[in-house]
Symmetry: C2
Subunit: 195 residues, 2 copies
């Protein structure tokens, strides 16, 4: 049975929107935010310029929409990783590894100007707070069960984790990323004896 007309239209609009987002992100990564034009995007996406403007008024808006979709996808993935079975320590480790690899990937997207522009977005700040809370909750859970230190508030430990793990973007190999997460996890241990 063919899909109802309305559904078909919506699926089509979603496909066009996705194509616009993908083409823009690829063009900006290659040429930089300042040198990409709406005409190039329309051409790459295989649509007319007039059609493109029915979807988005300018490149900045497209780029923000693309980035918000990326961030939402990453956050869903991290929540999924967190919700696996296991104790807080193992789950936190998996979340940190997953986030480390996301950070590494994201560094490929455009130069620092593009990143600064994208990270001024309020939805991105919200996503960052949700990730902070996700990690803070695991840390509080682990502190109660004795897996993590309880001499430092979980909220501060979450700041430590998120900043430390962002170092993954500078590391030379995947093995190094795993070592980084091991070091971060060591920092969360209960300490006995002199440091």
């Amino acid at each position: 049975m063919p899909r109802p007309w309305k559904e078909t239209i919506e699926a089509h609009r979603r496909d066009v929107r996705d194509a616009i987002l993908e083409c823009t992100s690829a063009l900006v990564a290659e040429h930089g935010l300042r040198s990409v034009t709406m005409s190039q995007i329309a051409e790459q996406a295989g649509i007319g310029r007039a059609t493109l403007y029915k979807y988005f008024p300018d490149i900045e808006t497209i780029l923000l929409a693309w980035h918000e979709r990326q961030v939402a996808t990453h956050l869903d993935h991290l929540a999924h990783v967190r919700d696996q079975a296991g104790e807080a320590g193992a789950r936190l480790q998996h979340v940190l590894v997953a986030y480390a690899f996301i950070s590494r990937q994201s560094r490929g997207h455009g130069d620092s100007a593009v990143r600064a522009f994208l990270h001024r977005d309020e939805q991105v700040a919200q996503a960052h707070r949700r990730l902070h809370d996700m990690i803070g909750d695991l840390l509080a859970e682990g502190a109660r069960s004795g897996a993590f230190r309880d001499d430092v508030p979980a909220d501060e430990l979450a700041t430590y984790c998120l900043h430390a793990v962002s170092g993954a973007g500078e590391l030379p190999s995947e093995d190094a990323v795993h070592r980084l997460v091991t070091v971060i996890m060591t920092g969360l241990r209960r300490v006995s004896g002199p440091p």
Copy 2:
């Protein structure tokens, strides 16, 4: 005995230059990079516009000069802290605390656009590499003496330290900054037994 004429001139030029740097940094912190004018800077520094242009062609150049001077001062301070007596562990801890407080202070200077602009500067990137090496050397020294873990290259541990300590900018209090450095130092310990 009065100073020779040449020295007096040079001291005067240095004073004027310093005054320009200070005024610009204060104006930009208050009003943002985009809304400060060369006339405002000249007025605040108590010099004529023509004189200002003999020193600097535009605000960006002034801001970079100010920032490079700040960064050089910070780096000297950190090297001084590193060179105190003591074993690698204690010296690294002092360097990290000092750097954490510098990071916290610097967050007050302007918005993210100003920060992004300043951090594109090559001299700043160089200073960052020098700091990375300074910390890497302490870590290598401590690994040899048994103070730090040796299962992770010192260079990667330096990346961990610098990223983790940048979290200081988000923390609510000086006590929290000291706790952060304690956690970072725990991460550097040799690990025995399961994590």
